[in-house]
């Protein structure tokens, strides 16, 4: 899922433009971005960050800033979790 400080309506237009089918969540009040400790206080937006969260709600992998542009590490972390499920 994606999260940003955009409004639900901006996310709707964005989702249509880029053709995503997964949820894009709107954190318009910045409450959750702040809770996750990634609010950029110079510009009131999120630092680009990807969290991989397992079924128990525990963070298993984090990509920050430039690392988060490349989905391969998060994808690998997901594969590890899937593999664990099979054990």
């Amino acid at each position: 899922m994606g999260v940003s400080v955009d409004s639900q309506f901006a996310n709707k237009a964005y989702a249509e433009q880029i053709g995503v089918t997964f949820p894009l969540l709107s954190d318009f009040t910045r409450e959750i971005t702040t809770k996750y400790g990634i609010l950029n206080d110079k510009l009131p937006v999120a630092h680009r960050t990807t969290f991989v969260i397992d079924k128990d709600g525990v963070i298993q992998h984090i990509d920050r800033e430039a690392e988060a542009l490349d989905p391969n590490n998060a994808h690998a972390a997901c594969s590890v979790l899937e593999h664990r499920k099979g054990q």
Partner: protein, 69 residues
């Protein structure tokens, strides 16, 4: 007596400081992900809780819509 009071006060301060650090420090691998409920692009409310015990999740915070993510 005074020494004991000082030690107790010191221990309390240390406990308070570590609690505050735990609450405000950056999230790390192994931490529990904070719960949230947020609207998706269709207005449906989505919570982290609803995936508990069911699905692993990728939560990607992007900077702004229409900016290449």
């Amino acid at each position: 007596m005074q020494t004991r009071l000082r030690v107790t006060a010191g221990a309390m301060l240390l406990a308070l400081a570590s609690t505050l650090a735990a609450q405000t420090g950056p999230l790390k691998v192994g931490d529990k992900a904070p719960d949230f409920t947020l609207p998706d692009q269709s207005g449906n409310k989505v919570s982290l809780n609803q995936f508990q015990g069911k699905k692993n999740l990728v939560l990607a915070f992007y900077v702004l819509a229409f900016t290449g993510g």
